[in-house]
């Protein structure tokens, strides 16, 4: 049997007395859309940040395609095909949408110690950028400054930037955060398209979206994975129901 694309083993990260990631073990198979859910403060973003290298784990290991990446810097992981979107939109606000995506393409297309040629005239980069923008439905907004895009458009741009790095694995940290109903629906549709091409780890609060999209769901509570299974099994899981006691209806409503 093939190795999983992403394997997380016994990952631990503490902040002072709090164990934000508590011996997390997780496998994500190639081609899978793996959702991570959990109440606020369960350590979802902390986990994602360790996967991308923005935060180093105290112990445990992370493998991408069989390679140990636990200690690699963020930019190296990106080179290996790991891309992320941020929970709180994190873009180059004073650049245009096209520039944002073109830079992502540039990072994975030759080196950037080129001091003379005008980068905005490199047709290869511009075409890659335009293609990624079209992919998320922002083709017509290419030359708009990011700070002038709507929140929904910025969320879509986050995705386009991640796509432009040609990732094997896409880590999406609450792509639906702050989106309205129609925007959310568009995002779900978009993700349904993308999942055909790329393995996705999705952290999301929107349970409708999660249950509509996920092949597997891992439930994180107080930094621990209490269940990792197909959606139908997660719905039935007693421990999950208990953990979600306050929002029990959120999970059971879909039974």
């Amino acid at each position: 049997m093939a190795d999983p694309l992403l394997r997380v083993k016994d990952l631990v990260r503490r902040f002072g007395g709090i164990t934000a990631t508590d011996h997390v073990t997780l496998d994500v198979a190639q081609g899978e859309l793996h959702a991570i859910i959990g109440p606020n403060g369960a350590g979802k973003t902390t986990l994602i940040s360790q996967l991308t290298g923005h935060l180093m784990p105290d112990s445990g290991s992370i493998f991408l395609g069989g390679e140990d990446i636990s200690r690699l810097a963020a930019w190296r992981r990106s080179a290996l095909g790991l891309a992320r979107s941020f929970q709180i939109t994190s873009l180059l606000m004073d650049f245009t949408a096209a520039d944002n995506v073109a830079l992502a393409a540039q990072a994975h297309h030759g080196h950037s110690f080129s001091f003379w040629r005008n980068a905005r005239r490199e047709s290869g980069l511009r075409q890659a950028a335009q293609a990624a923008l079209e992919r998320v439905g922002l083709g017509h907004r290419a030359d708009v400054l990011v700070s002038r895009l709507s929140h929904g458009e910025q969320r879509e741009l986050e995705l386009a930037v991640a796509l432009a790095t040609k990732p094997q694995l896409l880590l999406l940290d609450e792509p639906m955060a702050g989106l309205g109903v129609t925007e959310s629906a568009r995002m779900v549709k978009l993700l349904q398209e993308l999942r055909k091409e790329v393995t996705i780890v999705l952290v999301e609060h929107d349970m409708d979206a999660v249950f509509a999209l996920a092949d597997r769901i891992s439930v994180l509570v107080y930094g621990r994975v209490i269940a990792s299974d197909v959606p139908a099994a997660i719905r039935q899981n007693e421990e999950v129901k208990r953990a979600y006691l306050g929002d029990q209806h959120v999970v059971t409503a879909h039974v």
Binding site: L103, A107, S112, F113, W116, R117
Partner: protein, 315 residues
């Protein structure tokens, strides 16, 4: 675009023309002082432009940029003192020494950011200042007189005021042109991206520190050139050129003219130094007028003079 009149371009063109024609004016009017003043302005504009590369485009607030003026200057002064008068040796040494200093200081300083980066670059420049003060063989505190300007084997005579002025101006325009190419290149896009959002740039696969360090070294090397010119201009180099107030002057020029704009630092240097000259003629307490004036421009013209002009053209 659709503007029939773009104030920024107009002012830039006027400035370039004025700088080019200045020796002619000086000759015709017999005003030698104008040429002397503007030679100094052009050299410091070059230093400010180099600072703008890291500060304006790269977001690295270096408060120790005057160190390169000293390093470039001392390279020329010390070699001249030791009997090596050729500019073909002096100037490459000045540039190489500045680049090396930038490499070491940058590698250490770029571990920090924000206020800490400002403080550590300041600390290193002050260290350079004290090291220069301790160079007993080369004048120590009193500085070092450069008895003979750099010799370029008859190619150009640096002792001729006009020739020297045009050399400085060519260096300034050359550096501004180079910066223009750099900021629009792949490398420049990365550096500006890092200014905007370093975390994002790391996430899409750029090793941030490497790019920042290279940018820091390029900027320092350019400023080392200004240092070599300055020592030739004053026939003298002393630790005072590295003092922190001089670094502050350079920062003010950049902010005044407009950070992250190509000609902003040049305009900033001209306005700052001409104002200083004029006000100091009126009163000994010129700083009392200069201070509030700068404050007003920075407060109301976010983006400096270039920012003001930009808004003006948009109407």
């Amino acid at each position: 675009m659709k503007h029939s009149f773009d104030a920024r371009t107009a002012v830039t063109v006027l400035l370039v023309a004025a700088l080019l024609l200045l020796p002619l004016y000086s000759q015709l009017s017999g005003n030698v002082f104008a040429l002397t003043l503007f030679t100094r302005i052009v050299i410091l504009a070059l230093a400010a432009a180099s600072l703008n590369l890291i500060m304006g485009y790269g977001g690295m607030m270096s408060f120790g940029h005057a160190a390169y003026l000293g390093i470039g200057g001392y390279a020329v002064g010390i070699l001249a003192q030791e009997g090596i008068g050729s500019g073909f040796i002096q100037w490459p040494v000045a540039l190489a020494a500045s680049a090396l200093y930038a490499l070491v200081i940058g590698a250490l300083s770029l571990r920090t950011r924000g206020v800490y980066f400002i403080m550590i670059t300041l600390a290193f420049a002050q260290m350079a200042y004290y090291v220069a003060s301790g160079l007993a063989r080369y004048g120590g505190d009193d500085g070092l007189t450069v008895y003979k300007r750099s010799d370029f084997a008859g190619l150009i005579n640096l002792s001729n005021r006009t020739q020297f002025y045009y050399l400085c101006l060519a260096c300034l325009f050359g550096v501004v042109f180079l910066i223009w190419r750099i900021v629009n290149s792949r490398f420049g896009m990365v550096v500006q991206g890092l200014r905007s959002n370093e975390q994002r740039m790391q996430a899409i696969g750029f090793p941030a520190k490497r790019y920042k360090l290279v940018c820091f070294v390029i900027s320092g090397t350019m400023c080392g050139l200004a240092g070599a010119l300055l020592a030739n201009n004053t026939d003298f180099v002393s630790p005072a050129v590295m003092y922190w107030t001089r670094s502050g002057d350079l920062m003010v020029m950049v902010i005044l003219g407009g950070m992250g704009t190509l000609f902003g630092p040049v305009i900033g240097a001209v306005v700052y130094l001409v104002l200083e000259e004029m006000l100091s003629r009126v009163t000994e307490y010129w700083a009392l007028i200069m201070g509030p004036l700068l404050l007003l421009i920075v407060l109301f013209g976010r983006g400096g003079i270039m920012g003001l002009l930009g808004r003006f053209s948009r109407g």
